[in-house]
Amino acid sequence: MSVPETPTEPLVSVESLHTYYGKSHILNGVSLHVGRGEVVGLLGRNGVGKSTTLKSIMGLVRPRQGRVLLGGNSVAGLPAHKLARLGIGYVPEDRRIFRLLTVMENLRTGLDRRGVADARKQELLDKVYAYFPVLAERRNQAGGTLSGGEQQMLAIARAMMLEPKIILLDEPTEGLMPRMVWQIREIIEALHHEGVAILLVEQNVPLTLEASQRVYFMEKGAIRHHAAASTLKATDAVVQQYLGV
């Protein structure tokens, strides 16, 4: 399979990851990479290890073997909070916003960093409120009172506060109404325009194929196929094989 090589050195690269939960061998030699500013999709059924791959990159789960590289440098053993400061944003499955903090306080967890001028902070805030007007409206409401779609937006906005170079998005459209799915699609597009790289884990094939430049297919803890998104259609046999019944 001929896949367009990324023009520059990859931003994030994962080599032969083996990750276990206890004895359960979840990642069985996963290798992938994401170039600067690229949107890369990671598709596969439930339980194949997509979320675990993201968690391994984010330092939330320690792989037993293999390497994770950020800008060419190994980030082995670095705790998650250092990786966040180095520019990796993480939006988990089921959102996990801070339910008892207000929308504003949720954003502040990422916004309040050393070395960022107040003016810049205000800019970031304004930008995010422009992207997500509903969050501006609800800025003093507790996170737990938001609807599912609003919480998803807050989770993405919160990650954007870190000014990340790459955002790890785990199934952002799961459980959302079609209208919200469309909004997520637009946000991914907008982030891409700003040069933020995205590693998108999804089960929604059409969305992923539209939004991504390249797509990996995962099965049983390993990458099984890799192609340029433009060469694939949702009805292709390979898609059926890794996502269908």
Partner: protein, 265 residues
């Protein structure tokens, strides 16, 4: 304990396939509500004796909730569960187990500090001589025979004396199936039996299920489509707590609604 006990002697063949396939399990309008959320929506489900049925469906479709209902862990808000013609709705899990439904779990539930044989023997003993307090367990030769036969069928007989904690992940999951088998069930419910297994271990488990299926009815929740395609006689697809489609593997693969749900096309 002379010759190796075989499966046929350990499982008396009363679960035969002769005659019309009467449903061994049947649910009528099974519904569970958690506050405003309808986790199971009036599910009508039937499985015939001797069948291997796979239950598939996206995240949150209600598959685990369904299992929890069948095994008595959750009480349904409405509807009935009939097992071999008897109403078992709302029975506690131990009662359900005694009626003949056994279950293996997604997160391994073995006793890590006991030997492999002990794990299975204890399960076997729950069925016979469960209440006797005076006789030493060693006196019950039939339980040992039973345990060895079960280990044979799940391919762990050579590891009988090993501590369960020392087994590989795949072996532990197969032990889990063995423990369920030792309770002499009529219906065996397997919850993602190949989760976290390598391709090789998955093959072994597929073969294992084929071996034990001869005298049992089996219900499997799985995400691994290879397992589902190779083992299932029929597949039931769950979606948002209701049955979306049901049919043979070939039928399900071509069902447009199923494709829509899985690929979101």
């Amino acid at each position: 304990m002379a010759a190796t006990p075989s499966i046929e002697t350990a499982f008396p063949a009363d679960a035969g396939r002769e005659g019309a396939p009467a449903p061994v399990l049947c649910t009528e309008g099974l519904t569970i509500r958690f506050g405003g959320l309808v986790a199971l929506n009036s599910v009508n489900f039937e499985i015939a004796r001797g069948e291997i049925r796979a239950i598939i469906g996206p995240n949150g479709a209600g598959k685990s909730t369904f299992f929890n209902c069948l095994t008595g862990v959750l009480r349904p808000s409405s509807g009935r569960i009939l097992f071999s013609g008897e109403d078992i709705t709302g029975l506690s899990p131990d009662r359900v187990s005694r009626r003949g439904i056994a279950r293996s779990y997604q997160i391994t539930n073995i006793l890590p500090n006991a030997t492999v044989l002990e794990n299975v023997r204890i399960a076997a003993q729950s069925r016979r001589h469960g209440w006797s307090m005076l006789t030493h367990y060693r006196a019950y030769g039939d339980i040992f025979d039973k345990a060895e036969a079960v280990l044979q069928s799940v391919g762990l007989r050579s590891k009988a004396a090993e501590l369960a904690a020392n087994l590989s992940h795949g072996e532990q999951r197969n032990l889990e199936i063995g423990i369920a088998l030792a309770t002499e069930p009529q219906l065996l419910c397997l919850d993602e039996p190949t989760a976290g297994m390598s391709a090789a271990e998955t093959h072994e488990t597929i073969a294992l299920v084929r071996r034990i299926a001869k005298n049992l009815t089996i219900l499997i929740v799985e995400h691994d489509m290879q397992v589902v395609m190779e083992l299932a006689h029929r597949i039931t697809v769950f979606h948002y707590g209701a049955v979306l489609a049901e049919g043979t593997p070939a039928e399900i693969q071509q069902n447009p609604r199923v494709l829509e749900v899985y690929l979101k096309t």
